[in-house]
Amino acid sequence: MELRPILSTLRRHKVTSWLLIVEIALTCAIVCNAVFMIGHRLQHMRMASGIDEHALVQIQLAEIAPTPDIYARAREDLAVLRQVPGVQAVALTNQLPLGGSSSNASLKLDPTQREATLSAGTYFGEDLPQTMGARLVAGRHLQPDEFVNADVVVKALASGNTKAVPAVTVITQALADRLWPGQNPLGKTVYVTDQVSVRVVGVLAELARANAYNDATAHYSIILPLFMGAGKDQSYVIRTRPQDREAVLKAAVAALRKADPGRVVTKQRTYDEVRQTFFANDRAMAGILVGVIVALLVVTALGIVGLASFWVAQRRRTIGVRRALGATRRHILNYFQTENFVLATIGIALGMVLAYGINLFLMLHYELPRLPAVYFPVGAIALWLIGQLAVLGPALRAAAVPPVVATRSV
């Protein structure tokens, strides 16, 4: 295909051609970034929690009248729940992975450090990894005799006694790798306050924190041997067979109500719902981005159809003359296809630069990573395809112009 006649024609429609190029460039740039952002969100939504998600349910209760002994209340609740048919294991926890509302601690390797090394999610609760199904990869679990009621620790710390705090912990592999890269974390010591240190006795493969908004720090979690007692911020997490979840949830709530009627159930849900709630905004955003991509491509395609139709109508005479001089239908078809390809290519080239610029802006303001190079061809191919599809109709109409048009005056 000869490019020269196409370029010289386009030069006669400079402004219109440039407008189309700009439209393609903008669309290409936005589509590149939008596809990238969708990928980013989907990746975030696939974040591992490290637990046996489909086997778990959560129940949260709040007292109406003050409970005299929250620790005894919780022990009894746990015993009651273990009796519910279908319950395999049960634990009391202060938070759930991806649960949203979180408890965190600033960890230091050396108490004289001016700034904490990092912040980690702090789990309190007996049998937590066992119940939730978090895999132990080294060392051992926390033992029941190591657990202390939370009020004992709170009161001891308030009076300056740091010895009442049980000095053992189980941490995640991600946290171990960050604190002591390449070393065996078992037996190492980490400070949870300037005066309280704990020794690592076990390592879990994975356990996401409750506020896992940042992928890089999502698995920085530690478990401390504190028993929190019953309360509106604590949850019972129950393990059962996936197909029994609904039935067990119902039976467990009924059993808890019976054990102490002076309470309101504030949450009862499967863990699947926990995850769904946590990522609801990301899912919505991904949906919006898909919508924007579709809308952009449709508008651009319709724009190309409109403009190409105009040009075809305008050049009917020229086409007729070319046909009369021996050009085949295929020649005419190819002409318009190539014309679109040239415009799309210039637009795409500009769009790549623009996409890079938009990505820089987003990196600066929205903590988005750099746009990987693989996303550039995505936009390019999308626009080449859209362009060719859009121009096909008008081009076929152009090819159908009979040579006899050349002999007629307008």
Binding site: I64, D194, A295
Partner: protein
Amino acid sequence: MFGYYLDLALHSLKRNKALTALMVLAIALGIGASMTTLTVLHVLSGDPLPGRSDMLYYPQIDPRDDSGILPGKEPPFQLTEIDGFNLLRAQRADRQALMTGGAVPIQPDSAAMDPFYVEARYTTADFFAMFGAPFHYGRGWSAADDEAKAREVVIGSELNERLFGGVNSVGRTLRVADSQFRIVGVLGNWAPSPHFYDLNTGSYGYAEQVFMPLQTALDLHVAHNGSTDCWGNGTGGVGRIYPSSSCVWMQFWVQLDTPAKAADYQEFLVHYSEQQKALGRFVKAPNVRLRNVMQWLAYWQVIPDDVRLQTWLAFGFLLVCLVNTVGLMLAKFLRRSAELSVRRALGASRRALFAQLLIESGVVGMVGGAGGLLLALLGLWVVRHRPSDYAALAHLDPAMLLTTFLLALGASLLAGLLPAWRACQVAPALQLKSN
């Protein structure tokens, strides 16, 4: 002349229905998308207390120990209980209120109604007057009630509706967290958005239904909600034990009627910090901030990132739609060079041609704008039915309606300007000859 041009425009638009529809649709889609996101952004960045917010300030001081904190850093976002009460009792501002959030169980008298939990705010007497909370019935409590740990509550209109069917319930008793309270006031519909005075409990669509004197709440050990930050050996508490003295968990707001008073108050905070350091309670050099409501919201970056991102996306989309329309309009006008040449040759001035073409593009813009408005209403309806905490707020107000109108007009004129100008540049003789 206008009528004639309008007639010409409509005639020309009708001649090419598909293309006209395409242009109108593109403008409508672009405007609909940008108006939807802009309205959400506008609602979320609104002033929660118009006319009052620039006199309300949020004092911050730094009671933390020296370890773990680098100099020049922001002080904590809240106050310790001790500092909160010290600043409250100093009475250095025109009005002041100390507060924290929570949730309380309500035990209705009627056996037909099960007990339930509602969001609560534990605060001090000036809260209502300072924030201009409107009373439907009754009034707030007094500073003396605060000190007497009075068993008095103010309830929200929603709770009043639920318990008493909306009638005047002032003077009636209410069982809250197993204690008898007397209702002294019922608020009208009041839910400042963003929930500026405590952003930890949620920023939007959040309205407490029980307001209780802070000292009464502390006395009864009712449950605390919100953020707690501790240092040293501080713990956030457990069960009925509140956060320890080295934890910040209270918010303190002051009303300062003039900038001079605000400057004085900042000075006072520095003095207070120095005094506490001399007493050995504070370790660091005075580190204070005093922001008014809008500065505080800006600092907190209360608008979700996703909402700002959606606005950028929508305007990117609008830009593509506009470029699209300009291109189509230009092609259309240029195709009519012959017709325009005839009019030029018959004596129409360039200005007249320009006006005629601009009217044609204006019609496209106005119809597109109207379509955009409908799409924006649809878009906001969709936003309202999404499970976000600001969903209920997404409504078009008169200001945004006007903005939509101006945006549509501006966009269509912008889209019409270049094509109309280009098309007017025809050389009539050349065009006529070539035909």
